[in-house]
Subunit: 707 residues, 2 copies
C-alpha cells in the first residue's frame, strides 16, 4: 500500500492555490521553486486574478485544474483556507500543504479556524501538512513547495522540522557543505501530519538512509516511542530537541516530581527507542552525514591518522570525553607503518606522519589501520601544508576507503580556503568531512551507540504473572476521594504487585503496638498513620530503635500526645509498627506521569543525596529488564550497588524485579499520577530488597474507581 | 623600554637565512609572504647559491647583510643552524625564528642541538622563537614570516599557538569569517620564547585587545599564573588546552593523588588567573571576536531578538545551560514593543518579531531592549526570509549598537549563502556574527565571567601570623628517612600551622591508653600507630566507641595481638587514643604537588562519596580567602555545608581558615609531595572544625631537612 503521505513528496501533479505573478510575493517564490529543480509532474498555479504565471496556465479555481493533481499547496489568507480545502476535497485531492499563517499560533480564533480545517480534511480523507509551515522538498522527485532560496545536495538524509526557520537556516547553511539530503518537510502547527507520521514515511522511503528531525514537542509520546523503536532497527533517527529549559516550577509532592521534568522524559524516550540525540544543529548534521555515508563501527576503538600533532591531541581529547578509546595498533601494523612512513613519524596511535605527509602516505596508513583487527574506525586529519595538495589526499582517502568498505572512515580537513576542492572530492567519494577535530568524539560515539542499539534484542515487557491488578482496582475504589496516600495506604497496593515490604502492621493503641512488636521482634519503629500527615518526621511522627514492650508503650503514647498537641485537627489513625531496617543501600524508585510520554520512571540513590547530586536516571514505563539494568548502571548509585571500594555487592536482581513490577503498576493504573518508594532498602546479594516507605498521588481528573 | 620580542613582529629589517629561488620550497613561500602583505621594512634573502630572489638582492652570508636588520628567520638543515645563529649574533641580530625541524622533537641528539642553539642565543643576548615552528605574523606591520597561504582580516585578536598546524588551520578557516587578528605566533619547541613571554608582549601591544592561545603544556606554571593574573586585569586571555586526557595512571597513595591530575591543575590555574578556557577551536575564536569588538556585560540577563521561534528556543536552551538568564523586560519596554511591532509579535523575551520582521523592526527592538535596565546584553537572531535583505538588517543592527555602545550586542545570522553580505556588514560594523544560535551560551558566559573577574579584588594571600614554619622544619628534620607519614607523625605538623586536631595522645601500653582515655573522657577511639601501616582500617587497626576503662584495656590488647599475628614484621609503636568524634560533616582537604604549577589543593565531600561522585574542586596554593570560598561553593558539598534541606549550617569560617593554613603549609614546604586531611570534621556554625585523620608524603628527591 502506498503511504497517504507520498503526494507530499512525489505528487503526480501539484496545484498552488494563491499563486501570484508578483515576484515580491512568497507565493511567486514557491511557484518558481516548483519548476526549478527538475520536478517532472504537472504544476498548476491557481488564482482567479491571473491567466498565466511563469509561463504556466493559471486556473481561477482548484475545481477547474485538470488531471493529474494530487497535492494542493495553499498560500492565501487564513480565513479563506477552509473554502479552498473544501474545494480541494471535492476535486478529489487527498493531500494539502497549508503554508499560510494566522491559525493556532495567533490565538483562540485561529485555533478554531485550524480545527475547522482539520474537520474538512478528515471529511475528505485528506492529509494536511501545516498550517504555518514552509512546505516540503524532495531531492529525488525535484518537488519543492518551499520559498527557501536554493536546495542542498542530493543524498540520503531526510529532515523533518517543527520550525520552518530552522529548516530554512540549515538548508541555507548546508547547501555546499557536502551534506546530502533526500527530502525536507516543515511541519508548522501540525494540525494533522506530525513528526511521527513523517518518520514512518521516511522509514520506507528508499532514498532516505538517515532520518533527522528538529522538534520542540512530541504530542503523542507513546506512539512516537512505538514507531521510533521499530524504525531504528533498520534506519537511524537523529533528533535535536529544543526547549530543554524547564519553564517555571511545577507543583510537586515527591522527589520524583521535582526531579522528573519534561526534558528527562524526552531524553528517556530517545534512549529507549534508539534515537540518537544531537546537542546542537551542527551536531545533528555532522552525525547524520556519517550515518548516511559510512558503515557502522563494530566497537569504540578509533585510529587517528594525521599530518600534525595538535589537531590529533584535540581529537584524542574529544574521543576520551565521549567514551571512545584510541585503538592500540597491532605490532604488525606498527612495524609496517614504521618501515614505510617517514622515519620521524609517530606510528603509535595517533599515527602522526608529520607535515610532509603525501597522498600515498595517507593511503598507506589508512589501508593498514583499516586492516588492523584492533581498529573499529579511522578518523583521518589533514592540516593544509604548503607543499601537499589536500584534494589529492582526499582522492586517496576515498579510493582506500572504498576498497575496504567494512569500517567507517571519517575525515577532518582543518581549514576552508585550502580545502574547498578536497571537500568536493570527499563529498563525491562519500566520506564525511569535518572542519575541526573535536567532531570526532560525538560523531563516532553516536555511530557506536547506534551500532550497539541495533545489536540489542528488543523484548516486550511482560507483567509478572503474580501481579494482581484486580486487587489494586479494589483498593483504589475503596479509598474514596483521597488523592495523596501515605505509607499505610500505599503498602497494600505495592504488595498486590509482588513488591516486598518491610513487615509491619497498624496499631490503634499502645497495647496493639506492643502485641505487634512482640510478634515482629525487637527493635521496632513506630510511624504515625494519619490522612493529614504526609511528612511524618517533620511532626515527630517517627520513633526509632524501640527495644522492649515498655519502650514501645511509652513511645506510642508520647508520640500520639505530642502530635495531637501540635496538630489538634489531624485525624490520627494509629501507628505503623515495623522492625528496624536491616543493613543495606537506600535507593529511591519513583514514577511521574508525563503528559506526552506517560509514566516516567526514576531511579536514584536515596537519602539527602538524591537531590544534592541529582544522581538519578529515567525511563518510560513499561520497562524491559535491559531498561531497568541500564537505569541502574547510568547512575553513580549503580557503581555503589555493584560493590564499590570493598562495599558489599547489593541484590541487583531484587532491585530490577521491583523496578519492573513498579513500572507495570504505573502502566496498568493511569490514575496514579505520582508514586514513590523512598527509601527502598536493597540488601546484600541474595538477601532481597524491602520497601521502607512509600506514597502515591492520584490524578484528580481520572476516575480512579474504574481504572 | 621596548620589549626584546618586538623584532619578532615589527623588525626594521628581516633576513631569511635559507631563502630559495625554487617556488616548490617552503623557504620561497616564506620570502613571498614577507613581501606580500605590506611589510615596510627591509627584506634580505640569504643564500650563497643565489644572487637575486623575487627581485631582491640575495646575500651569501648574514654577516654581509646591510642595515637595518634585527630579525633573522632561519630555514636550513638543523645541523647548520648553530653556525647561522652564531653568525647572526656576531652581526648584532637579537631575534631569530628557527623554522627548521630536526631538534628536540626527533630525539636526544636533536635535543642536544637545540640546547646548543639556546646557549649560542644566550651568549649573544638573542631571543629565539622555535625551532620547529611556522613563524610569526603581524597584521599591522605586515610582517609575515610563515609559509601559510593567506592571512586573516585585521582586528584585535592575537593568537599564540604551540601547534603550528592548529595555527595554520585556523588562519585558513577564519580568513573570511569576520574574525580580525592583530598578530599570530607559532612557538614550536619553545627553546626560549614561551607562551607566557608572548602573553606579556601582547599585553602591551596596542593593536591587541584579546590574547588567544592554543597550548599543550605550560612549563613554568607559577610564572604563567603570575603574568596571566596581571594581564587579565585589563586585557582578556582566552585559551584552549589540548591533551586533557590523562595518559596512564600515576602511582598515588592518597585520594588527592588519584583525583588531582594535570588537567585539574590547568583548569585551576585558568580560573585563578582570570583566563577564559575555551572547549573547542571554534569556541576559542567565537569568544575572542566578541571580546575584541564588544563592551563587557554588567550581568547575565540576556535579551533575544529574533524573526523565528525555533532558533530562539535553541539560544534559550544554551543560555540556561551556561548559567545565563532570559532578561525580564520592563513593562515599558514590552508596551513600546507591543505598540510598534507586528501585532502578532511576541514581546516578552525572546522578542519574536515573526518572519516578516523588517530592518527597522530590528533597529526598534534592539534600541528598546538595550535601553531596558533589566537587560545586560542582546543576542539578535535572523533566519533568512525570502522578502527581507539580511544585509540591511545587519546595517541597522550595526547603527543601533553603535549609537548605544555600553552593552554588548551579538548576532546570529543562521545560514551561509543568504547571509554572506550581512557577515561583511557586521564584521565592518564590529558586531560578532555566529552561524548557530547555540553560540549564545558559551560566548556570553565567558564575557560575563570575565567581567566579574575584572571586578574582583585580587588580594595577595598572607600566611597567618601564628603559623610556625621553624617548628615544621624541626619536625621534618627529626623524622629521618621516612617518606610516608601517618596520622600520628602528621598531627604535629598541622598543629604547628594552627590547624585544629581532635585531641589525642599516643599510648604505648593498655595502661597508658586507659590513662589517656580517662583524661579525654569516654567514649574513645583507638588507632594503631605503626610506620608500616598506612591503611589502618584494612588491618583492624581502628576500634570505635570504647565506653570505659575495661573496654579500652581489652581493645588495646586485643588489637595489638590481632595485628601482631597478622603482620608479624610490622613495628607497632602503640595506639592513638582520641575521643569519639562529635556530629558534623566529613570533608576532605588534599594537596598534590603538580610538576608545572606547584601545590594543587583539593576540597571535597569525604567518605565514600569523594571517589564515587568526584565531587571535588581544585586550586593552586597559596589560596586567597576568595579562592577557598569558591572552591567550597563549586562542589555539591558546598551546598550541603550551607545547610541543605534543613540540615544544620556548617562552620564555613573554620573550614576556610583551615584551607588557607593548609595551603600555606604546602607553599612553605616544597618537600611535601602530597598531604591530606581526610576526614576533616566540620561542625555546625560557631563550633569549628577538627582533623580526624591525616597523612603526608614527602618527595624523595627533596632535601626535606632543609626545606
Amino acid at each position: 500500500m502506498t503511504s497517504s503521505l507520498r503526494p507530499f513528496f512525489a505528487p503526480k501533479g501539484v496545484a498552488l492555490i494563491g499563486a501570484s505573478d508578483n515576484p515580491s510575493k512568497l507565493s511567486h517564490g514557491i511557484l518558481k521553486n516548483m519548476v526549478s529543480y527538475g520536478y517532472q509532474g504537472a504544476v498548476y498555479p491557481v488564482n482567479p486574478k491571473s491567466t498565466r504565471i511563469l509561463g504556466l496556465t493559471c486556473y481561477p479555481d482548484i475545481r477547474q485544474v485538470p488531471d493529474p493533481v494530487d497535492l494542493a499547496v495553499i498560500i492565501i489568507p487564513a480565513p479563506l483556507v477552509p473554502d479552498a480545502l473544501e474545494a480541494c476535497g471535492e476535486r478529489g485531492i487527498r493531500a494539502a500543504i497549508i503554508i499560510s499563517g494566522g491559525f493556532k499560533e495567533v490565538g483562540p480564533e485561529g485555533a478554531d479556524l485550524e480545527k475547522h480545517c482539520l474537520e474538512i480534511a478528515r471529511k475528505h480523507y485528506m492529509r494536511l501538512i501545516g498550517p504555518n509551515c514552509v512546505g516540503t522538498l524532495d531531492l529525488y522527485t525535484g518537488l519543492n513547495t518551499t520559498f527557501i532560496q536554493g536546495v542542498p545536495a542530493r543524498g540520503g538524509i531526510s529532515f523533518v522540522s517543527q520550525s520552518g526557520a530552522v529548516g530554512g537556516g540549515v538548508i541555507d547553511y548546508l547547501r555546499d557543505k557536502g551534506v546530502g539530503f533526500s527530502a525536507f518537510a516543515s511541519l508548522g502547527n501540525e494540525a494533522d501530519v506530525t513528526e511521527t507520521d513523517l518518520i514512518e514515511y521516511f522509514a520506507v522511503d528508499p532514498n532516505t538512509r538517515v532520518i533527522t528531525a528538529y522538534v520542540e514537542s512530541i504530542r503523542d509520546g507513546q506512539r512516537f516511542l512505538h514507531v521510533a523503536r521499530e524504525v531504528t532497527r533498520y534506519k537511524p533517527i537523529v533528533m535535536l530537541k529544543a526547549g530543554r529549559t524547564e519553564a517555571g516550577a511545577r507543583a510537586v509532592s515527591s522527589h520524583t516530581g521535582s526531579l522528573a521534568g519534561a526534558n528527562e522524559a524526552y531524553h528517556a524516550a530517545f534512549v529507549q527507542s534508539g534515537v540518537i540525540e544531537a546537542q546542537t544543529v551542527a551536531e545533528l548534521f555532522e552525525i547524520a552525514v556519517a550515518l548516511d555515508t559510512q558503515p557502522l563501527p563494530q566497537g569504540r576503538r578509533i585510529a587517528l591518522i594525521t599530518n600534525a600533532g595538535g589537531p590529533a591531541a584535540l581529537a584524542s581529547d574529544s574521543l576520551a570525553a565521549h567514551g571512545l578509546t584510541l585503538a592500540t595498533l597491532s605490532a604488525t601494523t606498527r612495524q609496517t607503518l614504521r618501515e614505510h612512513l617517514n622515519p620521524a613519524a609517530q606510528v603509535d596511535n595517533p599515527v602522526d606522519m608529520l607535515g610532509g605527509a603525501e597522498p600515498q602516505d595517507y593511503a598507506f596508513a589508512l589501508t593498514h589501520t583499516l586492516q588492523d583487527p584492533n581498529v573499529d574506525a579511522v578518523f583521518t586529519i589533514l592540516v593544509p601544508q604548503a607543499l601537499v595538495n589536500p584534494a589529492e589526499v582526499a582522492q586517496r582517502i576515498v579510493q582506500t576507503a572504498q576498497a575496504q568498505a567494512d569500517k567507517p572512515v571519517l575525515a577532518c580537513f582543518m581549514g576552508e580556503y585550502s580545502v574547498g576542492q578536497a571537500r568536493e572530492v570527499l563529498h563525491h567519494g562519500r566520506i564525511p568531512m569535518y572542519t575541526f577535530p573535536e567532531s570526532a568524539g560525538y560523531v563516532l560515539e553516536a555511530m557506536a551507540n547506534y551500532a550497539q542499539w541495533r545489536q540489542k534484542s528488543l523484548l516486550t515487557p511482560q507483567r509478572p504473572q503474580d501481579c494482581q491488578p484486580q486487587e489494586v482496582k479494589r483498593l483504589l475504589k475503596a479509598q474514596g476521594e483521597r488523592l495523596v496516600w501515605g505509607e499505610f495506604e500505599t503498602r497494600p497496593i505495592l504488595d498486590a504487585y509482588g513488591i516486598p515490604l518491610i513487615p509491619g502492621d497498624l496499631a490503634r493503641s499502645s497495647q496493639e503496638a506492643v502485641q505487634i512488636a512482640e510478634r515482629l521482634g525487637y527493635p521496632v519503629v513506630l510511624k504515625i498513620v494519619s490522612p493529614h500527615i504526609l511528612h511524618k518526621s517533620d511532626v515527630g511522627g517517627i520513633r526509632l530503635n524501640l527495644n522492649n514492650a515498655e519502650d514501645v508503650r511509652a513511645a506510642f503514647s508520647e508520640m500520639m500526645a505530642h502530635i495531637r498537641a501540635r496538630l489538634p485537627q489531624a485525624e490520627l489513625v494509629g501507628a505503623l509498627v515495623e522492625p528496624m531496617a536491616p543493613q543495606g543501600y537506600e535507593v529511591i524508585i519513583g514514577m511521574r506521569r508525563d503528559p506526552n510520554f506517560g509514566p516516567l520512571m526514576m531511579f536514584g540513590l536515596g537519602g539527602i543525596y538524591v537531590e544534592l547530586f541529582r544522581d538519578v536516571s529515567f525511563r518510560i514505563a513499561p520497562l524491559t529488564r535491559g531498561d531497568a539494568l541500564q537505569m541502574i548502571n547510568e547512575t553513580h548509585a549503580g557503581r555503589l550497588l555493584a560493590g564499590f571500594r570493598g562495599q558489599p555487592e547489593a541484590d541487583l536482581d531484587a532491585l530490577v524485579d521491583i523496578l519492573l513490577r513498579f513500572s507495570h503498576l504505573a502502566v496498568d493504573f493511569p490514575a496514579l499520577q505520582e508514586a514513590e518508594i523512598n527509601p527502598l532498602l536493597v540488601r546484600p546479594k541474595g538477601q532481597g530488597a524491602l520497601v521502607l516507605d512509600c506514597r502515591i498521588v492520584l490524578d484528580e481528573n481520572k476516575n480512579y474507581n474504574n481504572p
